[in-house]
């Protein structure tokens, strides 16, 4: 079992409500996933088209939340030869670079191999950690986040260990993330297909293989829809998958609808959760269009 939530704010003026609306959604899925929680929040892309945000997790390093980010940033600035900005919260930092972002990632990883790279992109910030969803939400102040859309997850681990890096969402490439409720039966088959193409994996988690597979298809030129169609052919097992890109939210369920999802839509938002329990508090929910997404259908919303 796991819990999934997604929220897309339709009116730009309401983007400041994102955190306030989605945090109870995430906490509402605690019974489905009490061991870890996480989310990816998407906001307007950075103005500078060369700038990239890197979310980094320090909870596995010796100093944890006390990690010396400033020393890292000073060293990274020297390597990049350009200004690097830093925003920290507990075990988490958003490091913004204007130089080569892949080189920056390699540098961070070499600086302390126990740092975990969470995401890369112009609009994505990603937070995840072990612990009850309410604790994780408090730790990273989810309630005050703003943005256009969010992809969140509460985890009850079945396919790999309970560690921060195996919590959801998973990312691949830039401005792309995935959360998963279910279990895949062919994650190693997918890995064996991707690894010879030079695609590296961070964990042994089944969702990571689905995430990297879809991102690889899009990098090969598929649009999200085509990539998901290929996903229906290649991914075997039980799944409700929710994905976020810079400007889209996408949902699919396996043909047997083994894992749940319910959607509520109003003029202000599209909200997705594993169960209605996580939607009941949303504004004007009594007048929302509430429905269950059909199996093997694609649902894609534009931010």
């Amino acid at each position: 079992m796991c819990g999934i939530i997604g929220l897309l704010i339709k009116k730009p003026a309401l983007r400041s409500e994102l955190g306030r609306w989605m945090t109870p959604m995430l906490i509402g899925m605690t019974e489905r996933g009490p061991d870890s929680a996480g989310l990816a929040v998407f906001s307007d892309p950075l103005n500078d088209e060369h700038a990239r945000k890197i979310s980094v997790y320090s909870g596995l390093t010796a100093l944890g939340a006390g990690f010396n980010w400033h020393a890292l940033v000073a060293a990274l600035e020297k390597q990049q030869g350009s200004a690097v900005t830093l925003q920290t919260k507990d075990n988490h930092a958003i490091i913004t670079v204007t130089g080569d972002p892949v080189q920056a990632q390699h540098f961070i990883k070499a600086y302390d191999p126990l740092l975990h790279l969470l995401s890369l992109g112009r609009s994505i910030d990603l937070y995840k950690d072990i612990g009850m969803p309410a604790v994780v939400a408090q730790r990273y102040d989810f309630a005050h986040m703003s943005g256009s859309h969010v992809v969140g997850h509460t985890r009850m681990a079945t396919e790999s260990a309970v560690t921060p890096d195996r919590a959801h969402p998973f990312t691949a490439g830039q401005d792309f993330c995935m959360v998963h409720n279910g279990s895949l039966s062919n994650p190693y088959q997918i890995r064996r297909m991707l690894e010879p193409r030079g695609i590296k994996f961070d964990t042994d988690n089944d969702t990571e293989s689905a995430c990297r597979f879809i991102e690889w298809r899009m990098r090969e030129g598929d649009d999200l829809k085509t990539a998901l169609e290929t996903g229906f052919d290649e991914l075997d097992g039980f799944y409700t998958l929710l994905m976020g890109t810079e400007n889209q939210l996408a949902l699919i369920r396996d043909p047997f609808a083994c894992k749940p999802a319910v959607i509520a839509e109003t003029d202000d938002y599209v909200a997705i959760a594993s169960e209605f329990r996580s939607l009941a508090h949303l504004p004007d929910i009594d007048h929302a269009y509430v429905f269950e997404p059909a199996p093997q259908e694609m649902y894609i919303w534009k931010a």
Binding site: A257, P260, F276, R277, S278, H281, F291, E292
Partner: protein, 230 residues
Amino acid sequence: MEGLNFDLRQQSVRELNQFLHSDAGKASSGTIEVHHPDGAHSIAAGLNAPLKVVVHGHAGYYAAGMNMHADITIEGSAGTGVAENMMSGRVHVKGFASNSAGASAHGGLLVIEGNAALRCGISLKGGNIVVGGSVGSFSAFMAQAGRMVVCGDAGDGLGDSLYEAVLYVKGSIKSLGADAQLEPMGAQDLQIVTDLLAQAGMSQHRASDFKRVASKRELYHWNADANQEY
């Protein structure tokens, strides 16, 4: 006693259900109104008295499960397993129902005004189900007794491995499951469908527009010559 109100934002589902199971609860004669269900699980499960319960909103999993005698209306949608293993009484969902609605119901009537998702009426054991919308794939899988009336369409594998339950579908059937077959509607079928539609408040549909699906009865006995091809 006049009508009673429960507000699940103030009271727990356990308080509600303990009352409904108690001697005092069983003796109540008015309608028991449940407000702000907010998708909570197991609302009004395990009732065993001719109570009238109205749930004002969306119910979570296993709402009205194992019902005996009670008449339970859900004004919104119902999550997985609504009225599962119902023994008698009536459960009426005004919205849609998620997977496995009416699973293994032994008796009573389950009415779903909207669509029912996959595996509706799986292992039905004698209950009746009327669905105003469509049913998802693998509905009535291994259904043993009882009837299912579908006013919309049916998904893949309808009635797979059916025993003696009979299914009536007005719309299209994407595919029939193993050992399920279309059969002509007889006078008795017309009467059954007319009665069930009337009980469900869906008499706008005409029984003569429905198709009958029942078991070919070829899976009843092991057939060594079938070479595992069914």
